[in-house]
């Protein structure tokens, strides 16, 4: 039986640019700009000041509360500034800027060797928390928060999100091919932390080699690889869980409500590094691709390296890009320029050429129903966009499930009138949030 979900769309996967390219290590940045907000939750508090010498792996920003995350130096060198700097999501954000000394020296005692099987779940969780690990698929939710099972919840299943349903992106794909042992160890540690006996790995069937590789790597373990049809958004949490396990997260609920925690391929690899070798999250694998990139690559790159350096490592631009995107083309964020740092959640850097983007002038809705058929959440995107246009934000929330929308963009992809439905939805959500805030204050 083919496991999937209702709705969805079939964009060209465009993975041919980099799917066959082994991960290359990008050169060290001359200057690393390391923002204090690379995760969902409170910004970290910088604990170094201008002039300090730091080593690779040293904590430079401390988590501010539980839902926050540590930030580490990704290179050794001298702190040349602590202040506001460009940020790919927030525009500007407090960051620690380190000028490389070129030595790339580890903090004393790193890396170490540790046998994780001797450690208790609580100790493992502490290590993950200290290492500043966040969801590396792009959502950047702190992993230690996600792995802490609330008292009233019971978790019995770990799902490894290896769908990589976003077009162009191949970082997870390459990691599965090249770094099987890291992923296996990471998954086993994550299972121990959660206290679950079972793990399911969802991989889209456009990555047959990864399915084979993972099936072999996990042989003999209570871990099953599930081949999923290639359909966007197969990697969306609710769709993925539904496809691999048949469980349905209720509207407004979280995976934990159905006993599941989802981790991404990059995240479990980072967990493995932190637990077995004491290495915090200071680098990641990302895909640099798109029609405007001269030599698209999968690269392992230090956090704080600029988009410009990453693109230069891929021989620069072939043509002037129409758009620069952080993440995938369906849910990623368009960036106005490339002088921004790579942060923990950068799953891809895309330079989309004119013609690849296929934009068009927005028209009014002709009610063709393509969005309704495409919506994996069973919403009526046409109506949501029209209600937003007319300022009926409350009706959108009350009657049309506004907050169920995961902003996957399937509706916009399918829309022949080129309507920016996701934009309308985001606006409606913001208006509802503002109204709620006002109500609470009033």
């Amino acid at each position: 039986m083919i496991k999937s979900f209702r709705g969805g769309v079939h964009p060209k996967d465009s993975k041919f640019y980099t799917a066959g390219k082994p991960i290359e290590t990008a050169p060290l940045p001359e200057v690393a700009v390391i923002p204090m907000r690379q995760h969902i939750g409170a910004a970290s508090i910088p604990i170094v000041k201008k002039g300090d010498l730091v080593k690779k792996g040293q904590v430079i920003g401390e988590a501010d509360g539980f839902v926050s995350s540590n930030v580490h130096a990704s290179i050794s060198g001298q702190v040349i500034d602590v202040g506001s700097h460009p940020h790919p999501i927030f525009g500007k954000c407090e960051a620690v800027v380190i000028s490389s000394d070129g030595k790339d020296e580890w903090l004393e005692g790193l890396p170490l060797t540790r046998n994780w099987e001797e450690l208790e779940a609580a100790q493992l969780l502490k290590i993950i928390s200290d290492a500043g690990i966040v969801g590396m698929g792009g959502a950047t939710f702190p992993t230690h928060v996600k792995s802490t099972v609330q008292k009233d919840k019971h978790v019995d299943l770990l799902v490894l999100n290896a769908a990589e349903c976003e077009p162009y992106l191949t970082a997870d794909h390459r990691m599965m091919l090249e770094e099987g042992p890291r992923i296996v160890a990471g998954v086993r540690i994550a299972m121990k932390v959660l206290g679950v006996e079972k793990c399911l790995i969802g991989i889209e069937d456009n990555k047959k080699d990864a399915i084979e590789e993972m099936t072999t790597a996990f042989a003999g373990l209570p871990v099953d690889v599930v081949a999923l049809p290639t359909k966007y958004p197969q990697g969306a949490e609710k769709m993925l869980i539904n496809a691999v396990s048949g469980r349905i997260i209720p509207s407004g609920g979280l995976p934990m409500d159905v006993g599941v925690v989802v981790q991404n391929v990059g995240t479990v690899a980072a967990i493995c590094d932190a637990v077995t070798r004491g290495i915090p999250l200071i680098q990641r694998v990302t895909t640099v691709s798109g029609g405007s990139i001269k030599a698209p690559k999968n690269i392992r790159v230090r956090i704080g390296t600029s988009f410009r350096e990453a693109i230069d490592f891929c021989d620069g631009f072939l043509t002037r890009p129409e758009k620069i995107i952080m993440g995938g083309p369906m849910m990623g964020m368009a960036e106005p320029n490339i002088d921004i740092p790579i942060i923990k959640g950068v799953s891809g850097i895309l330079a989309i050429a004119k013609g690849e983007a296929n934009t068009g002038k927005e028209a009014s809705c002709i009610r063709c129903g393509r969005c309704v058929n495409a919506c994996p959440m069973g919403l009526n995107p046409s109506m949501l966009s029209i209600l937003s246009e007319r300022g009926l934000y409350e009706e959108a929330r009350e009657d049309y499930g506004l907050f169920d929308c995961a902003e996957c963009g399937s509706c916009v992809f399918a829309c022949p009138a080129k309507r920016n439905i996701v934009q309308y939805v985001k606006f409606s959500k913001a208006q509802n949030a503002a109204a709620k805030l006002k109500e609470n204050r009033g």
């Binding site: 060209k12 230069d312 072939l318 028209a363 080129k418």
Partner: protein
């Protein structure tokens, strides 16, 4: 090579998603026009080349009125998207071949200016513009709208009435006699060598166009199947000589049912947005068609039944929404 040091401009930062399907409104509209073309051209072959003029006037005036309306309202000119042309074509295809040349233009005016742009333009009209245009002409010039020509190709069919007219006024026996025999009648209805509106006669060519649109996923097969099926079942059940004595095949192919079910009841702007809603719409349109044909004063009821169902489309949409993921049927 363009190096990364260029920083002449910032890049485009519009919202995700950054890639789109290459469907567009104009692609949909022009494809529907192409799907209608064989049946329209057959009309010219069937009724003489005069009707080509009618078709051209219908399309041309519709485009012209759209241009003028948008010019006067100082809106963007969207005549290239094909929607006005399609409305004009559909309208002309639903007119009798002998219609005076000015009437399609008047119909286009009503369709485009009143039924479409007065409602807010493409996407906002409640009623199918082509059908509103036809209904207005029907009320204004009932004689011209029901005067049928002799066909140029009819072998021995010299009647100047449509099959549905004959059925209404003279009964089923007379209808069979007119065509010679029942098989002859079915053949004429299927191929289109019968009297009727310009573009409605050829069942086979309309089916061809309709299937093409289903294949292109521009219309849902459920709509024509349910509408035509409803008409077939009901006309069979409520036959002239008591229950289960009707002739469903005749009713399914006669009049404007095929063109209506495939090209009017599937007009995305004026029908419900969910497939479930569309099935309700098609069912209602089928029932009303039969009601008008069998019990009403008019011989044909496709146009009015679709217009009536158009009027409750917002109501259907209100109550028939897609099933939300994870809602488990509990209170919303």
């Amino acid at each position: 090579m363009v190096d990364t040091t260029m920083n002449d401009k910032i890049f485009n930062v519009s919202m995700s998603p950054h890639i789109r399907d290459n469907e567009s409104i104009s692609k949909i509209m022009w494809t529907v026009i192409i799907a209608l073309t064989p049946a329209a051209l057959f009309g010219a072959f069937n009724f003489g080349y005069r009707v080509l003029m009618v078709l051209l006037i219908g399309m041309g005036s519709a485009v012209l009125f759209e241009y003028l309306t948008q010019k006067i309202r100082k809106k963007a000119i969207t005549i290239r998207d094909g929607s006005a042309c399609l409305t004009g074509l559909l309208l002309a295809m639903c007119l009798p071949p002998t219609i005076p040349f000015y009437m399609p233009a008047v119909g286009s005016f009503i369709a485009i200016v009143i039924a479409k742009h007065a409602m807010g333009g493409l996407g906002f009209n409640i009623f199918n513009p082509a059908h509103i245009g036809r209904a207005a002409l029907m009320i204004s010039w009932p004689v011209a709208m029901t005067t049928w020509s002799k066909m140029t190709t009819g072998v021995d069919v010299v009647s100047t009435a449509t099959p549905l007219n004959i059925l209404k006024q003279q009964g089923y026996q007379k209808l069979i006699e007119t065509f010679g025999s029942a098989p002859d009648m079915y053949q004429a209805l299927f191929l289109g060598t019968r009297n009727g509106s310009i573009g409605e006669t050829s069942t086979v060519l309309l089916l061809l166009g309709g299937c093409f649109l289903i294949y292109k996923k521009y219309i849902n097969w459920q709509v024509p199947v349910v509408m035509v099926g409803t008409v077939g079942i009901l006309t069979w059940v409520f036959g002239p000589a008591g229950l289960f004595t009707g002739d469903p095949l005749f009713h399914m192919m006669a009049g404007g049912l095929i063109i209506g079910a495939f090209f009017m009841a599937t007009d995305m702007v004026t029908i419900p947005i969910t497939i479930k809603g569309q099935v309700i719409f098609a069912l209602g349109a089928g029932i009303l068609t039969v009601l008008i044909r069998l019990k009403g004063g008019y011989p044909e009821g496709v146009c009015y039944s679709i217009l009536l169902m158009n009027s409750i489309t917002p109501l259907i949409d209100r109550f028939v929404q897609p099933v939300r993921f994870g809602l488990r049927g509990e209170a919303k």
